[in-house]
C-alpha cells in the first residue's frame, strides 16, 4: 500500500540524503582511521609542521593563553594564505589560464593521493600487519593515484568512481589535518568557517566571483566538487522504475542530441577547450596547506524539459545510498545539456524538492522541472571530517554529538539554499553547531550521562 503506490515519502528529500550519505561515509571513515591509528602511535604524530601551524608549534606544556595566541596566529596566517591563493586562482581563471590550472590541479590531486595517502596506507599496513611487499604496495599506490587523477578530470570515468575519489581525497586530507594540535584545530575551524562566510557571501569574495564567473561562462564550476547528481543506470530500489517513460526519454534525448550523450558532452568540451572541466585547484594548494572549496553550489537548469524529466525520474529512484547506484549512463546527457542551459539558481523550498512519480504522471514531471545537482565542495568534506576526527580523540559521545550537529547544519544549509537561491557557504552553520555541541557535550553532558549510566540509571 505505502510502497508500491508512490507515496510522497519516498521522493522527498532524496537530494539531501544524496549529499548527506557521502559526507557521513567520509566522516565515518575518518573517525575509524583516527580511532584505530591514534591509540597506538599517537606520539609519532606530534609536531607536524604544515602551513596550518607555520607560526606557532603547540606543545602540551604551554599555558592556555600562549596556546590561544599561537592558535589564533596560526589560523590567521593560514586563512591569509588561503585567501591569497584563492585570489590568484580566481585571477588565473578570469584570464582563462585554464591549462595551467588544469595541470596544477592534476599535480595537486596526484600529490594528495600518492604522497599524502601513501603514509596513511603505510600506517594502516603496519598497524594491521597486512602482509604486502613494498613493490606490490608501490604499484598499487601508483595505480590508485593515477586512476584518481584521471577520474578527477576526465569525463570517461564512471561517476561512482569520481565520487569515491572525491571522498577518498577528503578522507586523506582530513586525516592529515587531524594531526594538528588541538587548539590550533579548533581555532582554525572557526576561522575557516568565518572565511568561508566572507568568501562566498561578501561582494568581491573570491569564491563568489568564481561561482559567478563560472555561471556567466556557462561552465561547470571549475573545482574539486562532489556532485550529487543523479544518474540513470542500476538503481537500488527501482529496477522497475527504469520505466518505459524514462527509457523513452533517454532514447529521445540521444536522438535529438545528436547521438550519444557522451558524444554530446565531448563536443561541448571541445568547443570550450579545457575550461569546462578545469578543476582549477582552487581547493588545493600545494601539499601541506591544502584546503577546500568551501562552496555549496546548486545549479538548476530550467531550459530543457526532457532532460529534467529524465533527471527527476532518476533522482527519485536513487534513494539513500544513491552513490552506489550512480552510473555513467545518464550523466553525460545531463551535463552536456547543462552546459547549454543557463545556470539559473532558482530553487524551491526544500520540502518541495520532489520528483514526481516514476512512470505514471509524465505531464507532472514535465511541469515540475526541479531537477538539480547539489554540489558540495571537497573542503566541506575535509573540515567536517576534521571536526569529527578531532572529536573522536576525546570520546565517542562527542563524536555522535558532533556528527548530528554537522549533519543538521548541513540540512539547514540545504534548506537555506532552497530559499536563497544562490551559492552558499556550507561550513559556517555546521562548524558553529559542531563546535558548540562538542563543548556542550564535553562540559555538560558527559558528567551527567556518565554519572547516571554508570549507576545503571536510564530514562
Amino acid at each position: 500500500m505505502e510502497s508500491g503506490d508512490g507515496s510522497i515519502l519516498e521522493s522527498i528529500g532524496s537530494e539531501i540524503i544524496g549529499v548527506m550519505s557521502p559526507v557521513s561515509i567520509c566522516m565515518l571513515l575518518v573517525v575509524l582511521l583516527v580511532y584505530s591509528l591514534t591509540t597506538t602511535s599517537s606520539s609519532t604524530y606530534s609536531a607536524v609542521r604544515t602551513a596550518a601551524n607555520l607560526v606557532y608549534l603547540e606543545s602540551p606544556a604551554d599555558t592556555p593563553t600562549e596556546k590561544l595566541e599561537g592558535a589564533l596566529l596560526n589560523a590567521l596566517v593560514f586563512v591569509i594564505l588561503i585567501a591569497l591563493v584563492t585570489f590568484l586562482l580566481v585571477l588565473l581563471y578570469y584570464y582563462r589560464c585554464t591549462n595551467f590550472l588544469k595541470h596544477y590541479t592534476r599535480f595537486s590531486a596526484f600529490f594528495v593521493l600518492s604522497f599524502m595517502g601513501g603514509p596513511i596506507f603505510l600506517t594502516i599496513i603496519q598497524h594491521f600487519n597486512i602482509p604486502v611487499d613494498s613493490i606490490t604496495c608501490f604499484i598499487l599506490l601508483v595505480n590508485f593515484s593515477i586512476l584518481g587523477v584521471l577520474s578527477v578530470f576526465s569525463n570517461g570515468v564512471p561517476i561512482l568512481i569520481r565520487q569515491s575519489y572525491m571522498v577518498a581525497l577528503g578522507i586523506i586530507v582530513a586525516a592529515w589535518f587531524t594531526r594538528l594540535p588541538e587548539w590550533t584545530t579548533w581555532v582554525l575551524l572557526v576561522a575557516l568557517a568565518l572565511y568561508d562566510l566572507v568568501a562566498v557571501l561578501a561582494p568581491g569574495g573570491p569564491l563568489k566571483i568564481l561561482v559567478e564567473l563560472a555561471s556567466t561562462r556557462e561552465e561547470d564550476l571549475p573545482a574539486l566538487v562532489y556532485e550529487a547528481r543523479p544518474t540513470t543506470g542500476t538503481n537500488v530500489s527501482g529496477s522497475q522504475g527504469r520505466s518505459s517513460l524514462a527509457g523513452l526519454l533517454v532514447a529521445g534525448m540521444s536522438q535529438n542530441g545528436g547521438g550519444d550523450g557522451s558524444n554530446d558532452r565531448g563536443v561541448e568540451l571541445q568547443a570550450v577547450p579545457s575550461s569546462s572541466r578545469t578543476n582549477n585547484g582552487n581547493y588545493w594548494n600545494e601539499g601541506a596547506s591544502k584546503r577546500g572549496h568551501l562552496v555549496i553550489h546548486m545549479d538548476n537548469e530550467e531550459e530543457e524539459e526532457e532532460v529534467e524529466v529524465v533527471r527527476d525520474d532518476q533522482e527519485e529512484t536513487s534513494p539513500l545510498m544513491a552513490r552506489n547506484s550512480r552510473e555513467r549512463l545518464g550523466s553525460p546527457v545531463m551535463s552536456g545539456t547543462s552546459n547549454n542551459g543557463n545556470r539559473q539558481m532558482n530553487e524551491i523550498p526544500i520540502v518541495e524538492i520532489t520528483r514526481p512519480d516514476r512512470e505514471r504522471d509524465g505531464d507532472e514531471m514535465i511541469e515540475a522541472m526541479n531537477g538539480r545537482g547539489i554540489k558540495l565542495g571537497l573542503g566541506d568534506f575535509v573540515f567536517y571530517s576534521v571536526l569529527v576526527g578531532r572529536a573522536a580523540m576525546y570520546d565517542l559521545m562527542t563524536v555522535y554529538a558532533c556528527y548530528l550537529a554537522i549533519i543538521s547544519g548541513l540540512g539547514c544549509t540545504l534548506i537555506l539554499l532552497a530559499v536563497c537561491r544562490h551559492a552558499l557557504p556550507a561550513l559556517p552553520i555546521s562548524i558553529a553547531l559542531g563546535v558548540m555541541f562538542y563543548f556542550l557535550t564535553r562540559l555538560l553532558m558527559e558528567p551527567f550521562v556518565v554519572g547516571t549510566s554508570a549507576n545503571l540509571m536510564m530514562f
Partner: protein, 251 residues
C-alpha cells in the same frame, strides 16, 4: 575484552533498531531525515537536562542516593514527555505541508501507514539516541582487552547490563512514539496517558539497580514494560489498520 565483544554489545543494544532501519526507513529519504532530526531533538533535550543538573552532580552513591536520583529521573521524563508534545505539534504542521504538496503534484496524500512510519521513525530516532548516548558512548573500553563490573550488579559485565537495558529502552522509545502520535491524532486519552506512564515506570525501575544485586529483578521488570509497550502498539496498529481496511471495503 576484544573488538568482537564490543561489537557484540553494540549490536545487542542497536541490532533491532538497525534491522528496523534497513527494512523500513532506509528506502525513504524523508524517514531518514525524520530519524536524524528526532535524534537531534533528543540530544538537545539531554544537553538541556545535563545543564540543569550540572550543579548537583555527581551524586554520591550512598544509601540515600535513591532520592536525588528519582528526582532526576522524574524531571528528565517530564521534560522529555513535554518535548514529545512539541514534536507532535511540529509533526502536525509538517503533515499539512506534505499533504498540500502531495495535492500539488497530484499524488495521493499521506496514507495511514505513512503517518505511522513517520511516527516510527521519530521514535526510532529517540531510541537510537538513547542507546547511543547511554550505552554506546560508554562502550569504548569494551573494545579493549578487559571488561568492567560494577559493584551493585556483579553477575554480569557492566557493558552487558547497560546494553540489555538500552535495548529495553530503545523498544519503549520507538514504539511509544507510535502509540503517542496515534493517541494525539485520535484524541484517545488512554493512549496519550499510557506513554508518559510507561516511560516513567521504566525510568523508575532502573532505580532498583541501586540496590546491590537489584539488576536481577530490575531488568526482567523493565522488559515487562518493553513487552507491554510492544504489545499495546501492535494491538493498536492492527486495530487501526483493520478499521481503515473495513472503511475502504465499505466504500
Amino acid at each position: 575484552m576484544t573488538v568482537a565483544a564490543g561489537i557484540g554489545y553494540a549490536l545487542l543494544a542497536l541490532g533491532p533498531s538497525l534491522s528496523l532501519f534497513v527494512a523500513v526507513i532506509s528506502h525513504k529519504p524523508f524517514l531518514i531525515l525524520t530519524v536524524l532530526s528526532s535524534t537531534l531533538v533528543w540530544l538537545m533535550s539531554l544537553i538541556v537536562l545535563a545543564g540543569l543538573w550540572r550543579a548537583f552532580l555527581p551524586i554520591k552513591t550512598t544509601s540515600s542516593a535513591w532520592l536525588p536520583y528519582s528526582i532526576l529521573l522524574l524531571t528528565s521524563v517530564v521534560f522529555q514527555e513535554g518535548l514529545r508534545l512539541l514534536f507532535w505539534r511540529v509533526y502536525k504542521k509538517l503533515e499539512d505541508i506534505l499533504d498540500g504538496f502531495a495535492d500539488r503534484v497530484s499524488k495521493p496524500r499521506l496514507f495511514l501507514t505513512d503517518k505511522m512510519q513517520i511516527a516510527l521513525a521519530g521514535g526510532l530516532g529517540h531510541g537510537v539516541a538513547h542507546a547511543v548516548f547511554f550505552c554506546l558512548s560508554l562502550l569504548t573500553p569494551a573494545f579493549g582487552p578487559a571488561t568492567f563490573y560494577v559493584e551493585k550488579c556483579s553477575q554480569m559485565p557492566f557493558f552487558l547490563v547497560s546494553s540489555i537495558i538500552a535495548l529495553a529502552f530503545v523498544t519503549i522509545h520507538t514504539f511509544s512514539m507510535v502509540i503517542a502520535f496515534n493517541g494525539y491524532a485520535e484524541g484517545n486519552r488512554v493512549d496519550q496517558l499510557i506513554v508518559p506512564v510507561v516511560h516513567l515506570i521504566a525510568g523508575m525501575l532502573t532505580l532498583v539497580n541501586l540496590v546491590s544485586g537489584g539488576c536481577i529483578i530490575g531488568i526482567p521488570l523493565l522488559y515487562c514494560m518493553a513487552v507491554f509497550t510492544l504489545l499495546h502498539c501492535g494491538k493498536m496498529v492492527w486495530k487501526r489498520l483493520m478499521e481503515t481496511r473495513n472503511r475502504q471495503g465499505n466504500l
